[in-house]
Symmetry: C3
Subunit: 133 residues, 3 copies
Amino acid sequence: MKWTKIEVKTSSRTQFIDITGLVSDELAKSAVKNGACHVYMTHTTAGLTINENADPDVARDILAGLAHLVPEKGNYRHAEGNSDAHIKASLMGSSLMVPVIDGRLALGTWQGIYFCEFDGPRVRNVLVGVSGE
Amino acid sequence: MKWTKIEVKTSSRTQFIDITGLVSDELAKSAVKNGACHVYMTHTTAGLTINENADPDVARDILAGLAHLVPEKGNYRHAEGNSDAHIKASLMGSSLMVPVIDGRLALGTWQGIYFCEFDGPRVRNVLVGVSGE
Amino acid sequence: MKWTKIEVKTSSRTQFIDITGLVSDELAKSAVKNGACHVYMTHTTAGLTINENADPDVARDILAGLAHLVPEKGNYRHAEGNSDAHIKASLMGSSLMVPVIDGRLALGTWQGIYFCEFDGPRVRNVLVGVSGE
């Protein structure tokens, strides 16, 4: 199992970036036909999630929903002032897995893979690894 | 690694359905004794989680807790009116993994695998794949 | 793929315990150089997450943020009085995966692996399994 690194440049403090195509490209470079595609990001103020990528209002509403749940300003102690980003990171998670069937990501019709920026803008690293045969 | 599809029929807008037995059945069909059982669902208004399946009030309380966190009506833009379901989907996640030891799911005493419906009733698809030897 | 069990003793009702070293030790015992390290816990009132382990205020702020989102006392039905812990367990998740590159956990600079206790103090079980070559 070989991991490759994708760079993702974000442009706002909070932002969902559709990385489905980038992950698909890495899968295509592997010879795996049936297995699992693992995606991991190496940060603590960002996350990964799978959700609808047809209507951009869905990503907007998820970001707004998370901002409502975890306000930027609160009774936080961490001196960097980005505790909201750390909390959102743990709510979304740092990795995800998508089944690989016949050499393709077995995503549902409306599913896309999002990089979730919660403390940008930054350049972020995502690792993609494919297991199987 | 071979993926098989399970169909899950839900009967309410929001509902937790225990799919532990369905996943166990798929594991039993594989020859894997030690490895990992991966579960994935292909939707953006539903999720998967592992939690207690002894007292049904636990699932009820998790659903109520999520409804409190993410109200059905809010300042959402997505025109379909189910943004709460998309947010809950990302909070729960679209996949999960359970260790396989001696040919069985290594779940804890109180753990069960739940399909989380947030915008039903619908017929939903779950993929189960087992890796290992 | 072989799973080994780690015991984690918690000392408070809610607590984040850094288990990065324990997981690294299990990885070191395996011969895997490139693959995936899977971590699973067998409980329904605890979870696993990856977040910053440099400033301890981050873990404190995540615990405080979760306590704010999911109060200990609420309109719950589960008779054991720990529904908040079950809800937080599903928000964090019961498993996580870290890429293995050159025989080491490919964690980001600030990332550590936390066991999340939500209904302690207790003795908890964590399973670690490494796949790859």
